[in-house]
């Protein structure tokens, strides 16, 4: 039981960082940024380069790589999306899709298609309230939680955070009241992409680094953002938690009593096959879109 809770929290931490970044860009620029998830492998690969090629300690390499990933997000905005501000969201969406593929294939060409690992020693799991946990997994959850708290502080107590919320609420009104929205947009790209980069580093620490690690989780990330209500950072965190638990709990429920109640034959065991684990997020996503498209914490959309 404790194991399921812990696995769910781990998954939520990884999804949450990506979903928060996605929802921020969405709230200010009003288009689903399909290239967002590609900043995750970028952060991970840059960290790997810093740690193994330049020989930096892993934490330092990660900090530099996350900052560089944020700058890459700002660059992506300057080169592609700034030229499309007045276009329909469809064109922005397709351009983002194209940019995502270009980034992914560039990383595949540079670092190769084979999975790589960070140079961390093999971890021996410790027992935590009945769940077996490696120290690095605790670091992952702590890092994600710390980022969320920092981000909450930024949104609530700083001028930039207030400007970001204003621009997300109504960009024209924010501009009219003296907020330099282009600067806010740059900040949003930087923070959003840096979060995605950090998410990539954490996923890489937990598993492996490979070019598809970003696109492979695009549906869960979008699902978490939409589930929470697109444009709401707190909603995205909540959405990631709900989805993280749904995926892990969904696989561990024995459906045998339910099926037998309807007259089916099970032999006492009926679990969702693990091959369908990704489908849980897809089904969730479609159900949310059908039943409550504004999300759990979403404001009504104009």
């Amino acid at each position: 039981m404790a194991q399921i809770v812990f696995d769910s929290l781990l998954r939520s931490a990884e999804l949450g960082l990506l979903a928060v970044g996605l929802t921020m860009v969405y709230s200010v620029l009003r288009f689903p940024n399909f290239s967002h998830v590609e900043f995750a492998p970028l952060g991970a690969y840059l960290t790997l380069a810093g740690a193994s090629v330049a020989g930096l300690p892993l934490a330092v390499a990660a900090a530099i790589a996350v900052a560089l990933t944020g700058l890459a997000g700002v660059a992506a905005d300057r080169v592609v999306f700034a030229k499309l501000r007045d276009r329909s969201p469809i064109m922005l969406m397709i351009a983002a899709f194209a940019l995502g593929i270009a980034m992914r294939e560039a990383m595949r060409a540079i670092w190769g298609p084979d999975p790589k690992s960070f140079p961390v020693p093999l971890q021996s799991p410790v027992d935590l309230l009945g769940a077996s946990v490696t120290p690095i997994q605790i670091v992952i959850i702590a890092a994600a939680a710390a980022c969320m708290l920092l981000f909450h502080g930024l949104l609530t107590y700083t001028k930039l955070g207030i400007a970001m919320r204003a621009a997300a609420d109504n960009a024209n009104l924010a501009q009219a009241s003296g907020i330099f929205t282009e600067r806010v947009i740059r900040a949003v790209w930087f923070i959003g992409s840096a979060f995605a980069g950090l998410g990539g580093v954490l996923i890489g620490l937990n598993t492996q680094i490979y070019p598809m690690m970003g696109f492979g989780i695009i549906i869960p990330v979008f699902c978490a953002a939409i589930l929470g209500g697109i444009g709401s950072p707190y909603g995205a965190m909540l959405g990631a938690l709900v989805l993280g638990f749904a995926e892990n709990v969904g696989l561990s429920i024995n459906f045998a009593p339910l099926i037998e109640a309807f007259g089916g034959e099970t032999g006492g065991y009926a679990f969702v096959p693990t091959g369908y684990k990704p489908a849980i997020a897809f089904v969730f996503l479609i159900l949310v879109l059908l039943l409550r498209p504004q999300g759990i914490m979403g404001a009504r959309r104009r």
Partner: protein, 308 residues
């Protein structure tokens, strides 16, 4: 060499069908379908299963492929017809992946068939009536005949009142609603129609390639169809075909380049996708109407028709 060109033209023809069908959904109706490859996949699988497992004739297989894909189109449009464009895009992407996962996790007609194994040795129609040399030409002719037929169909539909209603829908719900059109039903029919054409392409592909598995139908392929429509010019059916020709030419050029440049196949495969995606970004920024822009009918300025 000549064999290779016959092969390439056949592939271009099949992808031309896909491009046409997406153009019907996006270019004409404005539906942002990011799960287009699912129609192609369902057409391929339905026809393969009908011919190989059930043992029907090829005609039934092809018709089954078209029907399965059209049904899927109507099914995903049915509950989502009221969604906004961005949500629609994400839900079609998810629906296509669910369909792919289902096929990936289900074996069909044997322990090592279907599922992740895919289908190999898919029979080819009228194979015995030709020699291996002439069979390529026959299949090319078959694809081209069907392509011309589908092009005629969508061109005819676009000029009918139905096509004009779809174009009105593209610009927003308000106008067709004011004219008393059923917006939901228009969307569902456009999805089913485009789905059917894409399903035909899928059936053609399965019997041409003689092998399919779930990795052939990744979201990346949907993007390739999109790049054809965007490059050629959304809303113009000639443009959609021109886009298919150019994108497939770039996509297949690596076979020739492979012998000349000292880069391994993996990297070349990545490079061609980078070329296509950068090209599409440039087209979106600098040439948003594409190579062959849609012809917009202009009417006389309002002032000249009487008035004050």
């Amino acid at each position: 060499m000549i064999d290779y060109f016959v092969y390439l033209l056949t592939i271009i023809g099949i992808w031309g069908l896909l491009s046409l069908s997406l153009n019907l959904q996006y270019g004409l109706t404005g539906l942002v379908n990011l799960g287009h490859i699912a129609f192609f996949m369902l057409g391929a699988y339905a026809s393969t299963i009908l011919v190989m497992v059930v043992g029907t004739s090829f005609v039934v297989g092809f018709l089954g492929g078209i029907a399965a894909a059209a049904l899927f189109g109507a099914l995903i449009a049915l509950p989502t017809a009221h969604l906004q464009q961005d949500y629609w895009a994400i839900s079609t992407l998810a629906a296509a992946e669910i369909a792919r996962l289902l096929l990936k996790n289900t074996t069909i007609g044997g322990q090592y068939q279907g599922g992740a194994f895919g289908f190999s040795g898919i029979p080819q129609p009228l194979y015995d009536a030709f020699t291996p040399e002439t069979y390529g030409w026959f299949y090319l002719a078959l694809v081209l005949v069907l392509l011309v037929a589908c092009w005629t169909l969508v061109q005819w539909l676009s000029e009918m009142p139905y096509g004009r209603a779809l174009k009105a829908l593209r610009e927003g719900d308000d106008l067709p609603l004011a004219l008393g059109k059923d917006v939901r039903s228009l969307r569902i029919r456009a999805m089913a129609l485009g789905g059917g054409v894409a399903g035909l392409a899928g059936a053609l592909y399965a019997h041409f390639n003689a092998f399919i598995d779930p990795t052939y139908f990744l979201p990346l392929e949907t993007f390739i169809v999109w790049s054809m429509v965007i490059l050629g010019g959304a809303g113009n059916h000639i443009g959609a075909l021109a886009g298919a020709l150019i994108i497939q030419a770039i996509y297949n050029s690596t076979r020739f380049l492979g012998g000349w440049v000292p880069i391994d196949q993996n990297t070349l495969g990545s490079l061609r996708m980078i070329v296509i995606s950068v090209l599409i970004i440039l087209v979106i920024i600098y040439m948003p109407k594409g190579l062959v822009p849609e012809r917009v009918r202009r009417y006389a300025p309002a002032g000249r028709r009487g008035g004050t």
